[in-house]
Symmetry: none
Subunit: 368 residues, 2 copies
């Protein structure tokens, strides 16, 4: 791993998923990271995990990253700016305009502050879920909010935050805060609400009905498992653009309910077709191919449902000197086999396949 | 591969994804399959792919599987029953009650017919996407529609179709047609409509906005890429239960729009929390979803990030004669530990914990 662009100490306030992941990623670059958290237990865990060292009286960070819950972000930014008069301060909160307005209300001098937002995360929070590679290949918005341009003091702030982003192998996107908030309402907050609405319907299903669920339902409801505490804050803070989108969705929902109430009526099939085709077009606008941001290749191996089989598989993969990047076992109720999803670096995929086949393992081709 | 349960010839009518996959799977068991399709080109492709041989005058199939588009299914079933008076006939259409009613309207004697529905598929269709292992581990509903029970003639039909299902390594689920249709409305058709509604909103987004999309949006909109032709038929045929679900969803949508319009109002945050928590509960009801299946207990073990450690863990679990129900490894590059989530039957949890601790494994208590 080559050294980082950032020079000097980086102080990370908030030892949750994002803060700890930033710490792990920067330390892998040889950058000195200092972790702070109001919770001693959370701090100790993050340090155990290798996210950085504890703060000392002598710290002199050039950059401070505030990664605390949204409702605390403004006051922590204000405190950090005042405690560390030489540091540039950024944050990673997922809504930018209300935060900037709150800082103005608090009378904070924002000349050393510029907000940012990494478009990365996981369903699970906490240092225990942190990954140094969480941000690789992901966009990371630098949210301009005060007419910043690439000159003078602004240029310096932007450059330091860009270095942070590039050191974590994300890519910086400079965007006004208002545009950022409208964008995440569409690509993140609307899907969250819709997924929760859909998942709520499962409460009425019988176990037998839910036993028929497939990947489509799993995919559409996966993010409904997200942390309510965090999302109450996000949805409340960014409510205006979200409500606009929900109202547009309601118009389409009303229309499809009306159409499906009498699908043999004149024009009904065309109306259904138009919704489905619009969905086709919408999803085709997403950049890149589905699954493009997977860094690993997955192979699905059928594993007999008896003790020791999975261990034997992993032992044999180890004997073949192939490094496992990720592993997941899927057990379908009633099936004789589990499916082990084995993720490896793409360059190892072919050799893994031939090693496994030569040892008699069955590869589930349908899932490749 | 052991031989199949089915004896005699199996005739498959319709050489699309499902028909061809059934052919490939049965032939892998050594079963003689005959493929037929109204399109000579589709038929030739399926035969090329190894789904079976072409029909001859001398064919005498014991089982016929009708796998044609939904709007043709009833008439093809009627024709097959009359052409092959010794065969049991099933189909794989995704809605069962309207089909059975259509057969009744057509005056078809259904004593040798029993509908079924494999809960399996891919976004891509056609023989070219067919896989012999498409059905492995998936539920396959046998849709009773005439008060069938496991006696007499009914028992014979059911047994033959069960053999088909077991030969393809799927698992049979016996269920009245009406219950089946209500179930797939919930687990398949509602998610499809919701995903299309959500994906349609992407048409209004700018490229810059969509550039911020992450896995959550990709997952929730993936099935919006499905084939409109097929889905018009499915949604029209099963419209009643779908409309009921959409109307319930609309009540919740109206409520969250109203709440988010003024998130600082009294009770607003609680209302948002209730939707999100209901989504959490809904998604947790999906069987087999890792860490959330109420049938299993999960234990999180910290695994050092070096080759062979996970295999050693699993070997030791095997030595303790404890069967893994599900496994997931969170392998976090940059972190000093990976986190193995091990799901076992609840009655095995305590013994697993003590076995692991006595062997020196660190349990991630924070996650239990």
């Amino acid at each position: 791993m080559v050294g980082g662009r950032l020079v000097g100490q980086v102080r990370i306030v908030g030892a949750g998923l994002l803060g700890s992941s930033i710490g792990l990623g920067l330390r892998a670059r040889g950058i000195e990271t200092i972790v702070h958290d109001a919770s001693p237990a959370a701090l100790a865990l993050a340090i155990d995990y290798g996210a950085g060292r504890a703060a000392t009286e002598l710290d002199d960070p050039g950059l401070i990253v505030v990664a605390v819950p949204p409702d605390l972000t403004a006051q922590v930014i204000a405190r950090e700016l005042s405690e560390f008069p030489n540091a540039i301060v950024t944050d990673v909160a997922s809504i930018k305009l209300p935060l900037f307005e709150e800082l103005k209300r608090l009378g904070v001098d924002t000349s050393r502050y510029l907000g940012s937002h990494p478009l990365a995360g996981r369903e699970r929070g906490g240092a225990i879920s942190a990954r140094g590679d969480l941000f690789i290949g992901r966009p990371w918005v630098i949210a301009t909010s005060n007419g910043e341009d690439a000159n003078g003091e602004d240029a310096k702030k932007i450059a330091v935050i860009e270095d942070l982003i590039l050191d974590l192998e994300a890519f910086p996107v400079l965007m006004p805060a208002e545009e950022h908030d409208r964008s995440v309402a569409l690509v993140s907050h609307l899907p969250q609400v819709v997924s929760s609405l859909l998942a709520k319907r499962l409460l009425d299903g019988t176990d037998r009905s839910l036993g028929l669920a497939g990947q489509g339902l799993r995919d559409t409801t996966r993010i409904a498992a997200s942390d309510p505490e965090l999302w109450i804050q996000i949805l409340s803070a960014n409510h205006s653009p979200i409500v606009k989108l929900l109202e547009l969705l309601r118009v389409d929902l009303d229309s499809i309910i009306s159409t499906l109430s009498d699908p043999s009526a004149a024009g009904a099939r065309r109306a259904i077709a138009q919704l489905l085709a619009a969905g086709n077009s919408g999803v085709s606008r997403l950049p890149g191919k589905h699954g493009q941001d997977r860094k690993f290749s997955s192979i699905f191996v059928m594993v007999e449902d008896r003790p020791g089989e999975l261990a034997r598989l992993l032992t044999e993969i180890g004997e073949a000197k192939i490094n496992l990047e990720d592993l997941r076992l899927e057990h379908a109720p009633g099936a004789l086999f589990g499916l082990a999803e084995i993720a490896v670096l793409p360059e190892a995929e072919e050799r893994l396949l031939s090693e496994l086949e030569s040892r008699g393992w069955r590869i589930a081709e349908a899932y490749q």
